[in-house]
Symmetry: C2
Subunit: 117 residues, 2 copies
DNA sequence: CTGATCAGTAACCAGGTGGTTACCTGATGA
DNA sequence: TCATCAGGTAACCACCTGGTTACTGATCAG
């Protein structure tokens, strides 16, 4: 599943928001949602396929974490639609894009400090 | 259909890209694609529902145009995922966001000058 | 060792999506 | 006027998606 389709589902958007705060286990993610745990598992698998999350097995637990760089294609696409005909915007977009890539390359899953989710 | 789901389909992404260049008729949009015209019509209806395009009837033709501000929720959401924990990025995102809104409010569908689509 | 817990998989089901063809309406222009 | 063209709608179909329950397999704690 591609990242666009991954974002199409509200449950998956919730999951990503939650993971934007900090890596979490499936149970943690599941009990904020009105659906069963297996359903959450399925969504997480799709998100992993889409390159938006990674899993780290830790004992019997599995910790899922957001992969921000997975969003790059989406950002790029949306930006490409938004920008056109206003040159002013481009530098902002450029800065954003650069930042996105840098985040991906250098910071993997380092020190999530806050979680407004 | 919400904008997220609207972006999930590759055909619809193509349509939006095409419309990012200039408003176009259904036939114009259809013959760049490997699907039937009614299928394109359906997609356009969904895009309109999602607030991503508008139609202007002109004689027997209907001209579809991109509505950039319809993408605002998507931009905002993706940004909210991307930003966290790197303060440097925020000003760029902020600039982007401001620009998006400004574009929506002030420029509606003014003077599409290019169309790399 | 054993019971409880975390979590993935399997099997199944309902409903939505994306595509098609066929048809209809309304505008155009020779 | 009338054939033609733009384009929406209807009916239909195959497939995917998202959900469920039931089961299985590890791992942890007592």
């Amino acid at each position: 599943m591609d990242p666009y389709a991954a974002l199409a589902d509200p449950v998956r958007r919730s999951l990503l928001r939650a993971l934007a705060g900090r890596p979490q286990r499936v149970v943690d993610l599941a009990d904020g949602l009105p659906i069963s745990r297996p359903a959450v598992s399925k969504h997480l698998r799709l998100l992993a396929e889409a390159g938006l999350v990674t899993v780290e097995a830790r004992g019997r637990e599995r910790h899922y974490a957001l992969v921000r760089e997975g969003l790059a294609p989406v950002t790029a696409y949306v930006d490409s639609l938004v920008v056109r005909t206003q040159p002013l915007t481009e530098h902002a977009l450029d800065a954003l894009d650069t930042e996105v890539r840098r985040t991906g390359r250098e910071r993997r899953q380092t020190t999530p400090t806050e979680e407004t989710a």
